[in-house]
């Protein structure tokens, strides 16, 4: 059999070996399902199909001869804008709902109604509360938490004029938003209004729809997601740098392996707690296991990695593959990015699949619903179940050794490493030792060889002395490829190597999960404020080389709306309207001082980004080079 068959699917060794095993075991993978879907419908790929009402469904012929308008009269611009608007709404809703669940836990912790949860970073609690106008004034932390939880809940509603946390952005940036009328007012409100605007016969001006799309995205980036990250830090601790390991090799042959998948640390932190319970460790030993090994995939894994150094077994496209190791005794999921195929895959092995959120149920999974009141107890019960499953393993195939990875770079940690202010970083950028910084974010997508986009782009940037910060599946990709180990400095250019070497950090900084993309916004704001500039003046950029999710679309929009030039790998469904393509890739520059670009080849994307960064340096009066 030709062993090179899986090379095109992924650049990773564990991915290729586990794909081969999956085929041998007769299990379909996401790649098989992707192939079966081809050819994709071009109407949908271009954004030219509409299912919003039953006067339709409609499609518009890009060749100009078939129907040019939907039944309602919407032309291509309107159709594409409406579809894009709903994508943004869905993405914003997902991350913001994640934030809402955290706000609820914060409120319950305040009244002692959430056993197992606590306020780990009280200093941060006070700092964030102050931003919401809550004075510490001799209050107990629980009182502050209660007030903060209320204030944050208010952010989700109808009554506010503006979201509180946009004040973290540079003043110039806030003015741009206000002038455009896109300063977000309420987190749920903007999403709800998007659904209203995209109903048939409401907003039929494509520019107006896109402007509200910007507002909706900002309500996520400077609203729901930011709340999620800040409350997670308050409840579970603000991340500090630490070393762990990544890839399928983190699973242990001789220990009970529990993998957490999904997003919200309200679930995964409780499992972490339970895995450290001495009684359960003893139970595991009694069953013949050396211990309990908690590992993560996707964002909830990143949350645990950032705060507790828990290892990561994989990213989006390997969530099915890790089950093929036969070593996962239980996978516990909450919500987002969890493929409904997992129950079917797990059924071919001994893995017990457990869903925990009322909002997210899956075929083939046992439902154990977590609420703030019962989460700690439920977690203990689940770990017991996982231990009981340890002896039911069949063939175990853990084909690789894990790779060392340093993570935990919250803004607080980065500033801490720099000595308390961004000044050393600014100096390094001004001197040209570091040319600039890029946030590489986003998912995997079977359209693209897994991790190729992330790794290639990262390599090209750091070898040209550009600091890379990454989140989500992108951060796991580069970690698997060795960019976060101590030897990674060898891959970097001389300037970056010197600066990161002095600080004792890798050239690629793991900043967290996908809601933690807001940390990049906070860092960019800190740099801009230190320079008295706007974010769009900085020599920075964003990239999502392998994105798939609606959440990523929303993140892309809030990055660009915040002034960060962002390069996407896969093309979003906008080619049905060249007006919209032009606006997003050119026109937005005049509106928000940044644009999107679409470039599937990461080598070329690197050139685009480097050119952009050098151009920003020139405009700031810094030494620049011709790329």
């Amino acid at each position: 059999m030709n062993d090179k068959r899986y090379d095109a699917n992924t650049i990773t060794a564990d991915g290729r070996l586990l794909l081969k095993k999956l085929e041998r075991d007769g299990v379909d993978s996401v790649w098989d399902r992707f192939r079966a879907q081809l050819p994709n419908c071009g109407f949908c790929e271009m954004g030219l199909s509409c299912r919003i009402c039953v006067m339709g469904p409609c499609r518009i012929d890009p060749f100009g001869e078939g129907p040019q308008r939907g039944v309602c009269g919407a032309d291509a611009d309107i159709m594409v804008a409406r579809n894009l608007g709903r994508m943004i709404a869905a993405g914003a809703a997902s991350h913001s709902d994640h934030g809402r669940d955290l706000v609820e836990v914060l409120g319950k912790v305040a009244v002692n109604a959430a056993p197992g949860y606590q306020l780990r970073d009280v200093e941060k609690l006070k700092r964030v509360a102050a931003e919401f106008g809550i004075k510490p004034d001799g209050k107990q932390p629980s009182q502050i938490a209660a007030e903060l939880s209320d204030a944050m809940a208010e952010e989700y509603g109808t009554r506010k004029k503006e979201l509180t946390l946009i004040q973290r952005a540079p003043a110039k940036r806030q003015e741009i938003w206000r002038r455009l009328g896109v300063a977000p007012r309420g987190i749920d409100r903007e999403t709800s209004e998007m659904m209203h605007r995209t109903h048939m016969g409401v907003d039929n001006d494509w520019k107006s729809l896109l402007l509200h799309g910007i507002r909706n995205a900002l309500s996520d980036g400077w609203g729901g997601s930011m709340i999620a990250t800040e409350v997670s830090d308050i409840l579970f601790g603000t991340p500090q740098p630490g070393v762990t390991r990544v890839n399928a090799g983190v699973l242990k042959k001789d220990q009970v392996n529990i993998v957490v998948h999904g997003h919200n640390p309200v679930v995964s932190e409780m499992l972490l707690r339970a895995c450290q319970d001495p009684d359960l460790l003893k139970l595991a030993k009694d069953k013949g296991a050396d211990g309990i090994n908690l590992a993560g995939v996707c964002c909830t894994g990143n949350e645990l990695l950032m705060r507790a150094g828990i290892p990561m077994a994989g990213n989006h496209l390997t969530t099915e593959l890790v089950l093929a190791t036969g070593a996962v005794d239980m996978m516990v999921v909450d919500y987002q990015c969890i493929m409904p195929s997992l129950g079917t895959v797990a059924a071919c092995y001994h893995t017990k699949m457990v869903s925990t959120s009322d909002k997210a149920r899956f075929p083939g999974m046992e439902h154990q619903e977590f609420h703030p009141e019962n989460a700690a107890a439920k977690a203990t019960a689940l770990v017991k179940d996982a231990i009981a499953n340890f002896n039911r393993r069949g063939e175990v195939f853990i084909p690789v050794e894990p790779v060392e990875c340093m993570g935990g770079f919250s803004v607080e940690a980065i500033l801490g490493a720099l000595g308390g202010t961004p000044k050393p970083l600014i100096d390094a950028i001004a001197a040209g030792k570091i040319r600039g910084a890029v946030g590489i974010v986003g998912c995997n997508n079977p359209r693209i060889q897994q991790d190729y986009g992330h790794v290639t782009l990262t390599q090209r940037l750091i070898e040209n002395d550009i600091l890379v910060v990454d989140t989500g599946c992108a951060s796991v990709a580069t970690a698997k490829a060795g960019f976060k180990q101590s030897q990674a400095l060898e891959k970097a250019g001389p300037g970056l190597r010197e600066v990161c070497g002095a600080l004792g950090v890798p050239p690629v900084l793991h900043v967290g999960s996908c809601v933690d993309n807001v940390r990049i916004l906070v860092l960019a704001s800190a740099l801009a404020n230190a320079l008295g500039a706007d974010i769009s003046d900085l020599p920075i950029a964003g990239a999502a080389p392998e994105w798939y999710s609606e959440k990523a679309a929303t993140i892309g929009v809030y990055f660009v709306a915040s002034g960060v030039y962002t390069v996407l790998g896969p093309m979003p469904p906008i080619t049905g309207s060249m007006n919209i393509v032009k606006l997003l890739t050119e026109g937005l520059n005049d509106v928000v001082g940044a644009t999107f670009a679409v470039e599937p080849d990461p080598e070329k994307a690197a050139v685009l980004i480097r050119t952009h960064i050098e151009d920003k340096r020139r405009k700031l009066g810094l030494p620049y080079i011709q790329v």
Partner: protein
């Protein structure tokens, strides 16, 4: 113009129809030893198997000769062809010709063994053979099939479908060794064994024993196999004994050029008796299969009528459905060890498919498909047209392969 056609198999039929199309007033005489309506020879194995009724065998109506104004001379074999005087002799009668087509087909290869005169030992070449087999089947408890080629294989399959235990004696490592490679051969053997076929490799019959009717076969290694029916499927050989070899070049078959003309001007050959150039092998070869007979008959007819159509050469190919397995092959399925051939293959255990492609340079020269054979004709056409295959070749192996991938970008 006087046309004489020796043989009323499918090559002769298509030649006659083409002649009539191109030369309406021409005189056409057809000579054949089979006095039946023209029928489909490959379907006789399906009659044996029971999936097709005998009545479905004819491919032309009884009035075929009348409808096309053809003079039939049926029931006897040609005794001589006089190239100089342009005549054909049959049963004492002499037929003059301006253009002659020899489409006499092929006969089953004989074997050397004692006891061949016993009853219930059959060849499987004609509808009559199968009719005889069916007549004795009710009393048959165990059958023996000699040969794993197309004929032997189909006979064995047909008998197994009828519920008769069969032992198949083959010389090569697996059945259909001329058509498929070892991997597909293994899959076929497994499928048949799962349905009760007994396959013995390297076994040959030396003699048959019995009292009037065959009762056992004795192999060269001394083994004695009891059986009450034997089918000899050791291939076919072109029927050209009547051809004057000093006047018409004969190799294994009658050698023809790209216009189906023999070395004697005005004399053509087509079908199982003809030897043309094999497109994949690039050597003279007899590909005694139905679609070649059809194509060669038509091309011969055109040329005989003065229309210079060229024939690109023959290609061996076969498609067969065996229980839960479908197998399609074309060209060089198992290339020789010689340099210059590149093989790509993939087995998909989930879809239960096997695909193998053989390239010589950038041309496809052979293919084997097991299951999901619907689009095999695209590959066959690629071999026949000798179209250079642009990379990536692996695309031809993927389940999603379809015709579009061969079109220019």
């Amino acid at each position: 113009m006087k046309y004489v056609i020796i043989g009323n198999g499918v090559a002769g039929i298509h030649a006659a129809e083409t002649l009539r199309q191109f030369d309406p007033p021409g005189e056409i005489t057809m000579i054949s030893d089979e006095a039946l309506q023209p029928y489909c020879r490959p379907m006789i194995s399906m009659v044996l198997e029971g999936s097709v009724a005998t009545e479905k065998l004819p491919i032309r109506p009884v009035s075929f000769y009348d409808d096309l104004n053809i003079t039939p001379a049926l029931g006897s074999r040609v005794s001589a062809v006089d190239v100089d005087n342009r005549t054909v002799s049959v049963s004492g009668k002499c037929y003059p010709y301006d253009r002659l087509l020899i489409a006499s087909g092929a006969d089953p290869r004989r074997i050397k063994a004692d006891g061949l005169g016993l009853r219930n030992i059959f060849f499987m070449r004609t509808a009559a053979h199968v009719r005889q087999m069916l007549a004795v089947l009710p009393d048959v408890r165990k059958a023996l099939v000699l040969g794993g080629g197309l004929v032997g294989f189909k006979a064995a399959y047909g008998l197994v479908r009828r519920g008769i235990p069969v032992s198949m004696l083959i010389r090569s490592g697996h059945p259909l060794s001329m058509q498929v490679d070892a991997e597909a051969g293994r899959m076929i053997t497994d499928e048949l064994k799962a349905h009760g076929l007994d396959v013995r490799v390297g076994a040959e019959a030396a003699a048959f024993e019995g009292n009037g009717r065959v009762a056992a076969a004795r192999l060269f290694d001394g083994t004695r196999l009891s059986c009450d029916m034997v089918v000899i499927g050791k291939g076919v050989f072109p029927a050209r004994r009547f051809v004057p070899k000093d006047k018409i070049k004969v190799d294994a078959g009658i050698v023809v050029d790209e216009h189906m003309q023999t070395s004697a001007p005005g004399v053509f050959a087509a079908g199982d008796v003809a030897e043309s150039t094999d497109i994949a092998r690039r050597t003279p070869w007899v590909n005694a299969i139905w679609p070649e007979a059809v194509a060669q008959g038509r091309i011969a007819g055109m040329n005989m009528a003065g229309h210079p159509a060229a024939y690109p050469g023959s290609l061996s190919r076969n498609v067969i459905r065996i229980f839960g397995l479908d197998v399609m092959t074309a060209g060089l399925a198992a290339p020789p060890e010689a340099e210059g051939f590149e093989t790509l293959s993939v087995t998909d255990t989930r879809a239960r498919t096997y695909r193998k492609l053989v390239f010589r340079g950038d041309r496809l020269v052979g293919m084997v498909l097991v299951n999901s054979i619907e689009q095999g004709g695209v590959l066959t056409a690629l071999i026949q047209s000798a179209t250079p295959v642009r990379p990536p070749r692996e695309a031809l192996l993927k389940p999603g392969f379809n015709f579009r991938q061969l079109m220019p970008a």
